[in-house]
Symmetry: C2
Subunit: 120 residues, 2 copies
């Protein structure tokens, strides 16, 4: 599919997709048979990657963290050990974020009780 269809399918704008491509997160490919234009084509793996990007972004991962994750996920060159290293680091940072979020939730809940009781 071409970029416009990809954008419609993922809900991510053409501009943003191009930005992600320039950042190395995804890549389209040209058809060497076609000489009349230089259009890029994108397959279903790119759709998958863009969905992963959206999910990873929503939990606060940066572009370069997502790049690592995608490399671990899709790069056949990378060794098992290197993949595990990236993965375990990400899992650890997720656990840390969950811990911090829970601490903040607890804090806010205590504060909520306090203001209802008129202590604040």
């Amino acid at each position: 599919m071409l970029i416009n269809e990809l954008a419609k399918k993922t809900g991510i704008s053409v501009h943003t997709i191009r930005f992600y491509e320039k950042s190395g997160l995804i890549s389209g490919h040209r058809d060497p048979m076609v000489k009349s234009n230089n259009y890029f084509h994108y397959d279903d793996v790119v759709v998958e990657k863009l969905e992963l990007i959206r999910d990873a972004k929503s939990i606060g991962f940066t572009i370069s963290e997502i790049a690592q994750l995608i490399e671990a996920w899709y790069d056949e060159q990378l060794s098992l050990d290197e993949k595990l290293k990236v993965l375990d680091a990400k899992l650890e940072s997720i656990d840390e974020k969950i811990t911090q979020l829970k601490a903040m939730r607890k804090l806010l809940k205590v504060f909520r009780k306090d203001i209802i009781n008129g202590d604040c």
Copy 2:
């Protein structure tokens, strides 16, 4: 205390503290008695606020979200209802983030198993 001491106490740089002050998250006050300089003084509430800012930032809250939270926490003018509204919105967004993080953790754990089994 003056800004330098505040920076040392919180581990947040003088520049960043000034940035937070300009953003309205905290505020120092001048001593009207002192005429020879225009130095700002900061109290322990500011230390508290800066610690809240650091915690809130680490879980991905933006400056303007933190501003709302600090307003709910410290602004006596704000009504109970308005405070609760802000607080409940923040609690909800925290729960949502935790849910998303857990989903991503699950995904990564499945992927981890797969690559160990050589399915990837």
